[in-house]
Amino acid sequence: MIELINVSKYYMTDFGRHYVFRNVSLRLPLDKSVAVIGPNGAGKSTFLRLLGGADIPSEGRILKTGRISPPMGLTPGLQSTLTAAENARFAGRIYGMSRDEIAKLIDFVRELSKIGKFFDMPVGTYSAGMKQRVAFAINMSMTFDYYLFDEVGAGGDREFRKSAKVLIEDRLKTSKFIIASHRRDELLDICDSGIVIRDGTLTFFDDIKDALASYNTEDDDAEEDERQQQRRVKKGKPELTPEELAAKKQSKAKRRGKSAAIDATPEEQAALDARKAKRRSKSAASEATPEEQAALEERKAKRRSVKPKPEVAPEVQDVLEKRKAKRQSVKTAPEVSPEELALLEKRKAKRRGTEAAAPELAVPDGGDVAARKARRKSRTHEAPTPEVDAISQLPPDAASVPASLPVAISAVPDPILDGEGVQSLKQVDDRKSRREERRARLLAKATPEGQPAASLEGDEPAPQGNQAVAADGGRREALRARRLALKSAEASAETPVATEASASAAISAEPVLSGAALKAERARRREERRLAVSAKMKVPEKQAVAPDTGLPHETSHTGEDGPEHSVVSGGNQHVDSRLPHRDT
């Protein structure tokens, strides 16, 4: 309990006595933390100094029970010639601590203040914030019934204030605080009741909110107004009239909401709450007239409505969904440590280097395509989409065309494989439509009059027309052959084996070849190449599955370009744990 009995405190000035308090009688409860509020110069610090015994009342007396901490605040009680450790030791000695207790106290202060090597340097070399940290730590290192603080952690950074808050919350279980501060949130967090100091009088409020509400901020407002006017003048704007200032303040308070609520009178507070509730609650909507409600709904719908999506084929939808899932899995990939990242970068650079050194697929035989696919796969580490997979498993169309054509074929861009990763669906669609047009044009050129157009796509070859096309230009022929293969691959995207079969059938149906022997020979070579490619690209037939979860589990092997790493395999997806983003 702290009781002030007819306490007056004055200072002698050139103009006579300046009273800070005049004949104040007050009793502070034992079980409440008290906020001391008041404008600058009202006497908050003097009040705390009187309570702490650092100052003596000019008249009257102060009765105190319990241990009261020294008032710590903007002027920390530290000797500048001593180090923080020596100051802490001094405090320990003052309170009659033993040597062991003092050692513990110093450790506590060192840990809490977190000033590093400065702890063993004279306090005179500290910044204001560091001094406050040390003073706060010394104060909190000892147990008191009342802790007196003048602006807790005002000079400290956010981290320090956070740790101070935690410590204060802990101490609040056993002790009480008397805090002078201008921070409303801080006071609301810590204190239960409040004292407002103004014009030499102290008013005690049992509830901190009442104290804050009672605290008239006229002085602060005047200062703020002045600052605002100065800012406007600086910017070359005209000064605001008092009415404008008041209106601005009101709108600002409205925006701030919570702080405004603190300043508001109970009636204003109630009105504010009602407005808030009306805005936010659903019941507020029901109070609106049917027309208003309808308008509201309409606006809401307008805001929320999205453009209708174009209709998409189920297969395309499938592809889209798969890509989306892949993107999401990339987004939710686990974090990679800097060391792993460095290693990955290194490997990536290495891979790029080898790619750069590799020939640009000058001769697109089966082996090169397979190698290219393998490289791309390792670069993107994405499971091939059905189309990509199907196409990549196709025999290279150049192999089925005359030897004079490879250069031309290699120049033909592959719509999917030659792009950077998987291309957008729209691009694919565009290309498809362009292909259709070109095919129609070719058909018109190559097909003799009266020949059905379907013969090109059908099983029956049209030797004459196709020979003419081949003679006309190998490039066109190759294109057509490839398109056919692509089409059949798309048709049988679900089953790669079927894709292979249909693609080979489509190619074998090509009327480009002349002579059955050559055809048979080429088919044989093609089959060999395909087998070679399949052997190279073969996925593990037996997928390793975790016995308990049924999910793919990790297996380890040594990579060719690095140390041992783990690979999670599952279906068509090959996930290399050396890479940062992979989530199966």
Partner: protein, 279 residues
């Protein structure tokens, strides 16, 4: 359990409890302040413990310098006592008085940052520094006497040693009262401090420190009889060196001054303690 919870309920018991608690608390504070003083003294010029050695050697250096000065004047003895021994006894006694004029009162201001601790008061700061200065001064005095004995084979008379110490004790009380008064008024009115710092230099020559009062002119002897420090010097030499003091040298006079200064010092402190605490 708080300190108040442990308070005895009876009046007398409570009085003694508070007395004991107060003494214990003040002891802790003075102890802490003494350590702080030592730390400050040793760390003020970054020479560490050498700074303390310098403080101890200061009287010795003073005595050696003055002895050399007397030697230059072709004088080795003062009233039948070797000049080195004569100066060792006088200078040591006056050193504590001189410090009560300057360094001790300044501690009231320099310890201001500690007054946020409610148990630390200006009185404690003065007491702590006084103790430190006293110990260091007497260590210096003993060092000088040891050097005189070591090199010149001369010692003080132990016949009236207790009386000699009594004189020094009176001098210490007198100096403490002076420190308290100057600590309070010197802090409140800095001009007082600067005036008394200069006075201490003059006092060195008018307090019979470097020569006996009996050797001064008669007019000066009349004046010097008013100076309590001169009485202390003369009586100290009487008991420790068997040198006859000037006529009218009185221990009661010295004790009276000591008592008056102590009383005035406490009253001044009590009356002005709030003003000293004010920032």
């Amino acid at each position: 359990m708080t300190q108040v919870d442990r308070l005895p309920t009876s009046g007398l018991g409570r009085f003694f409890f508070e007395l004991r608690e107060g003494a214990r608390r003040q002891g802790n504070v003075i102890f802490a302040l003494i350590f702080r003083e030592l730390k400050t003294k040793s760390g003020q010029d970054n020479y560490g413990i050498l700074s303390l050695v310098g403080i101890v050697l200061e009287p010795a250096i003073g005595v050696i310098t003055l002895t050399l000065f007397w030697y230059l004047l072709k004088r080795q003895e003062v009233l039948g006592v070797h000049v080195a021994l004569f100066l060792a006894v006088s200078a040591t006694g006056f050193a504590i008085a001189r410090r009560s004029f300057s360094s001790i009162p300044r501690t009231v201001k320099s310890s201001r940052s500690f007054y946020t601790y409610p148990s630390v008061k200006p009185f404690d700061a003065v007491a702590a520094r006084f103790i430190i200065e006293l110990v260091l001064t007497f260590m210096g005095g003993l060092l000088v006497l040891f050097l005189v004995w070591w090199f010149l084979d001369l010692t003080i008379s132990m016949q009236h040693f207790v009386q000699g110490m009594r004189i020094y004790a009176e001098l210490i009380f007198f100096a403490f009262g002076m420190s308290l008064i100057l600590g309070i008024y010197g802090t409140r009115f800095p001009i007082v401090m600067s005036i008394f710092s200069n006075v201490s230099r003059v006092m060195f020559f008018v307090s019979a420190v470097i020569h006996p009062a009996s050797e001064l002119p008669a007019a000066a002897q009349v004046l010097i009889q008013w100076n309590p420090f001169a009485h202390a010097m003369e009586l100290g030499r009487l008991y420790l060196l068997d040198i006859k003091p000037f006529d009218g040298a009185s221990e009661a006079y010295l004790a009276g001054w000591a008592l008056a200064f102590m009383a005035f010092g406490f009253v001044a402190y009590y009356a002005n303690r709030n003003k000293v605490l004010e920032r």
